[in-house]
């Protein structure tokens, strides 16, 4: 693995015509994953806020789940960046010597702020549970119980007051934090867009619309993922009731589910339209002004990446789900298909921005093609290949499994109020 120094990027970059010698696809799959996962974090958080801030009672259970799930997703927004760094051991330096003229320097600060908000909110929601566990585990013997109790004692941060008044304040604090969290979440995304939009050397990325486009598509993917998860959970519940003989209860669940889905689908459509409009505006503007870079941009968009941009992203990822959601007599299956397509469409949008922005040379005289490494033969081709991306996707579910052992988001009787 270390016998020969390998030029970073040479293993997955195919050059065509004239490309500067030092140009490679330096930002690969992990940088596609980064804005995509960040988008999902916010989506999960925004959904939980719908209950905590706007009092959407029917979203109560999914709100519990999505809040904890957004915590599990959170480290995963940073993981791609860590995997992408050439010097991962120096990852803390943006916090030590932040150079604030760089968009990336703010990442540590914005990200930490956001993490603290999510953590605090979870603390306020689950504090009663933590305290109860500390008392309950006191009765039980055994090393594992002692360890568990220690964890809960740490989690309470020494606040054992679970009187009526204290819990009321907890709830208020959670609401305030959820409200603050929404703009911070949007900032986290807009700022991811700024990282790209401010690179003046890159003809495709440089656009003041980039941050807004990123926020819109982040909200779209976030809502889609949460709706999808919600449907899966509700269907599972209805299925359990029906098996237990509660056909009436199952019917109630279905009714409630449809109402929530209808409401959420309307939000989804709205944001989808906004996202597509902005992207179209960007495209039309580039074509109309036809700056120096337009020749090569056009040849990439209408030629080499036509499949990725117009077929997979706009048609399959935007237009088809839009039609599926708008047409009357929508069924649940159709909704689920539309949601999966929306999630795919947003992923393709990230791909087309990150990889598409490096598909042409800075010389405007050549192209670069990204061959994503499938079978890794080194750490580098693992990190920046299919398996690296799959690791990133799998991590939140693994984290959720661990977190859920201490913060049971799927149990119904945990709500503090």
């Amino acid at each position: 693995m270390l016998d020969e120094p390998v030029v970073h990027g040479i293993e997955w970059t195919i050059k065509e015509l004239f490309v500067y010698p030092n140009e490679f696809i330096y930002w690969s799959i992990q940088i596609v994953m980064y804005p995509y996962m960040t988008g999902l974090v916010a989506g999960a958080f925004v959904l939980s806020s719908l209950y905590h801030v706007f009092g959407q009672k029917d979203l109560k259970e999914i709100a519990q789940f999505s809040l904890v799930f957004s915590l599990a997703l959170l480290p995963v927004a940073a993981l791609p960046l860590l995997l992408h760094l050439q010097q991962p051991t120096r990852a803390m330096e943006p916090l030590l010597t932040p150079h604030f003229t760089s968009a990336i320097a703010a990442f540590g600060i914005v990200f930490t702020t956001y993490a603290l908000i999510v953590l605090s909110e979870i603390w306020f929601v689950y504090r009663k549970y933590f305290v109860e566990q500390v008392y309950a585990l006191k009765q039980k013997a055994g090393l594992s119980n002692l360890m568990k109790r220690t964890v809960y004692r740490v989690l309470t941060i020494g606040a054992y007051d679970i009187s009526e008044g204290a819990l009321k304040i907890d709830k208020k604090a959670a609401t305030v934090l959820a409200a603050i969290g929404i703009p911070v979440a949007c900032f986290l995304h807009g700022y991811a867009g700024f990282i790209f939009g401010s690179v003046k050397a890159n003809a495709l990325w440089m656009s003041p619309l980039m941050p807004v486009i990123f926020i819109m598509s982040a909200v779209v993917s976030g809502i889609a993922l949460c709706m999808f998860t919600y449907i899966v959970i509700m269907e599972w519940k209805a299925f359990l009731r029906r098996r237990g003989g509660g056909a009436l209860e199952a019917g109630q669940i279905k009714g409630a589910e449809e109402e929530v889905i209808n409401k959420a689908a309307r939000y989804l459509l709205g944001f989808l339209v906004a996202a597509i409009s902005l992207e179209m505006l960007d495209l039309i503007f580039r074509g109309y002004t036809a700056m120096k870079s337009w020749d090569i941009l056009r040849s990439v968009m209408y030629g080499k990446d036509f499949m990725n941009i117009f077929v997979l992203q706009y048609t399959l990822g935007n237009l088809v789900p839009f039609v599926l959601l708008v047409l009357p007599r929508r069924t649940l299956l159709r909704t689920v298909i539309a949601l999966i397509l929306v999630l795919f469409g947003v992923f393709m949008m990230r791909w087309n921005v990150v990889i598409g922005g490096q598909a042409f040379s800075l010389s405007f005289s050549g192209y670069m093609h990204y061959e994503i490494p499938v079978i890794p033969h080194s750490l580098e081709t693992f990190k920046e290949g299919v398996f690296g991306a799959l690791t990133v996707i799998a991590t939140p579910f693994f984290l959720f499994w661990i977190i859920n052992k201490f913060v049971p988001s799927l149990r119904r009787d945990t709500e503090g109020s």
């Binding site: 030029v7 015509l17 500067y20 330096e93 010597t97 760089s102 990336i104 050397a201 040379s361 050549g366």
Partner: protein
Amino acid sequence: MTCSRRDFLKDTVGGSLVSALPLSAFTLISQAEAAAALSESKTRWAFLVDTTKCVGCGLCVKACKNENEIPYDAAVTRTWVERYVVTKGGSTHIDSPMGGRDGFIDDKIRDEEIDPEDIAKAFFVPKLCNQCDNPACVQVCPVGATYQTHDGIVLIDREWCIGCGYCIMACPYGVRFFHPEEKVADKCNFCYHRISNGMDPACVENCSFGARRIANLKDPDDPVANIIRTERVSVLKDEYGTKPHVFYIGLDAEVR
């Protein structure tokens, strides 16, 4: 100290004794004072490339790789030479195999034969870091691992670079890359170790044709600086507002 701190700093900066200076001296003076002293730095390095003289031998690239310990067989390089062949029909063929490290001894461009009768003009263009006055790469570094020295050179701190690649993305000239062994961003620094010690950069010294020359713009008697001042020179991609400091003679409109 008999001389004022400011004079002391000025002299120190003018010379090459920065590290010999006790660090406390820097913390004692105000930033404005330091900035004033620095703006009076006696050096602003610049580069002059005469494309009309370049024959595409690539010995500059070879020398650069050896001098700066860039793995010789790696595709990345701190400086490179591009070949432009413009046909009478108006099409432009550009190449730079291995950055021109082995020169250009074949008339084929990417295995394509070009009829010599059809060639309207052909020339070679050496490229290197432009040591911009407003370096986009420095602006975007999240940790302060790349910076501009008082004499105008943009350096990279190999101990502090996290390898995020943002600077590589930000450079409109494509001069930056990841060093295959150091695993940090790397680029030309006009051979800072040589120019700071009275030598020419390796590529300049090893150019037999005078196509590459180094200049100190702040020295009124510098002959190369005088060429930049008095003759018609141009720069690459000035539309990015980076204020590049590699000046070119005989730059064609086709040059990217």
